[in-house]
């Protein structure tokens, strides 16, 4: 089995993985989850059966690491934290406000405030340019569900904008 040097994968996707994780866990925690993602990928890499769809494989790892991280953070959170924040994906919060400045950053903040699945689907679609099939693979959902999550996310972002 011939696999390209891992550095190729890093060069091709480092910025997109980082952006995806900023959208998933916020800018403050993104660096840690970014490192966890790449180390997990590096650990598993030599056992890969083939070099096809490395991107989907990589973002599946990133997505799982982000979920683990958000869950661990929820467990650490004090009981007085609003539970709605966790299910409704409000992980952006303070972290995002710290960097939000221009219109682009406002959009980031709006994306961060989307419910988890919509946020992930939108991030994959517009940061990583994923096809719906790839979004489905990464999120371990059906393709119609992937499409629906992107659609619902966009709808909510448009509503935010016109409010």
């Amino acid at each position: 089995m011939r696999l390209p040097p891992f550095q190729n994968l890093l060069d091709a996707h480092d910025r997109d993985v980082h952006r995806f994780l900023i959208a998933s866990v916020g800018p403050i925690d993104a660096d840690d989850v970014y490192q966890e993602t790449w180390l997990a990928a590096l650990r598993a890499y030599p056992q890969l059966a083939g070099a096809s769809n490395l991107k989907g494989w990589l973002f599946t790892i990133a997505h799982r690491k982000a979920i683990d991280h958000v869950r661990a953070r929820a467990r650490r959170a004090t009981p007085v934290a609003e539970p709605a924040d966790l299910s409704e994906g409000g992980m952006g919060g303070a972290g995002f406000n710290a960097v939000a400045a221009g219109a682009d950053d406002e959009l980031w903040t709006a994306v961060a405030a989307l419910p988890d699945k919509q946020r992930t689907a939108v991030a994959l679609r517009f940061i990583v340019d994923s096809a719906y099939a790839e979004i489905a693979t990464v999120m371990e959902i059906s393709e119609p569900a992937a499409r629906r999550n992107v659609h619902e996310g966009l709808k909510r972002l448009r509503e935010e904008r016109t409010r």
Binding site: R2, L3, P4, P5, F6, Q7, N8, L10, D14, R15, V17, H18, R19, I22, A23, P27, D31, Y34, Q35, W38, L39, L42, R43, Y45, P46, F96, V99, A100, G102, A103, D104, D105, E106, L107, W108, T109, A110, V111, A113, V122, A123, F126, I127, L154, L157, R158, E160, R161, T162, R163
Partner: protein
């Protein structure tokens, strides 16, 4: 959040929002550079191969080391870089990251060699993937002093296989660490240059570095 400066596009449908998302999500908060992972990878024991490039009088070189030591020095010919990298990944390990800082010592010693300030290398080498015979031949080669030459036959003899000069030639041809293990110092008994992994022009250059033409 109520005001985004895209409000004037309201009502123009999804494409506008999708374009804005594409633009925004690739800049703004996501514009900070990702942190390097190489040190964490090494600390976790996951950096099987660290590599770096080096410009030299014999062209661009790639140096690759494992935790045991320098394992490969490859000549990069025009357009061959990807193939060389893939070969290193296949032979050593695909867990391979660019890590120039981890190759500072061999890069410095090679620089000194190319400028005539170093006659021998003081580096740990990883020869674990080579056959016993190849290792013996390369050790015999490493014993040829700087500025001198030996024949394939002499090297085969020193490696314990006096009749195996052809096999010795093949072993030298597969030398994973040219320059450091100086197979360029091995010539035909008639005085002909013989062959060289990186081509004869490089062999001549290396010999000329070690034996500058007399000035008178």
């Amino acid at each position: 959040m109520s005001e985004i400066n895209l409000n004037h596009h309201t009502g123009e449908g999804g494409d506008e929002m999708e374009r804005a998302l594409r633009a925004a999500l690739r800049s703004g908060a996501g514009d900070s550079s990702p942190p390097p992972i190489v040190d964490a990878a090494a600390a976790a024991g996951l950096l099987d191969v660290a590599y770096a490039r080096l410009d030299s009088p014999v062209g661009t070189l790639v140096l690759a080391s494992t935790p045991l030591g320098l394992a490969r020095l490859a000549y990069i010919d025009e357009g061959q870089e990807e193939a060389v990298m893939e070969d290193i990944a296949t032979r050593l390990s695909p867990r391979m990251l660019s890590a120039p800082g981890r190759l500072d010592k061999p890069r410095r010693e090679l620089d000194e060699y190319f400028t005539g300030r170093r006659r021998s290398f003081d580096l740990s080498l990883d020869l674990s993937l080579l056959s016993d015979f190849t290792r013996r031949v390369l050790r015999a080669t490493a014993a040829i002093p700087y500025g001198e030459v030996a024949t394939y036959k002499a090297v085969a003899g020193a490696a314990g296989s006096p009749r195996g000069f052809r096999a010795a030639g093949n072993a030298l041809g597969s030398n994973p660490l040219p320059i450091v293990l100086p197979c360029h110092r091995v010539l035909h008994s008639g005085g002909g240059l013989g062959g060289y992994t990186g081509g004869l022009a490089r062999k001549r250059t290396l010999l000329a570095i070690e034996r500058p033409p007399m000035s008178d």
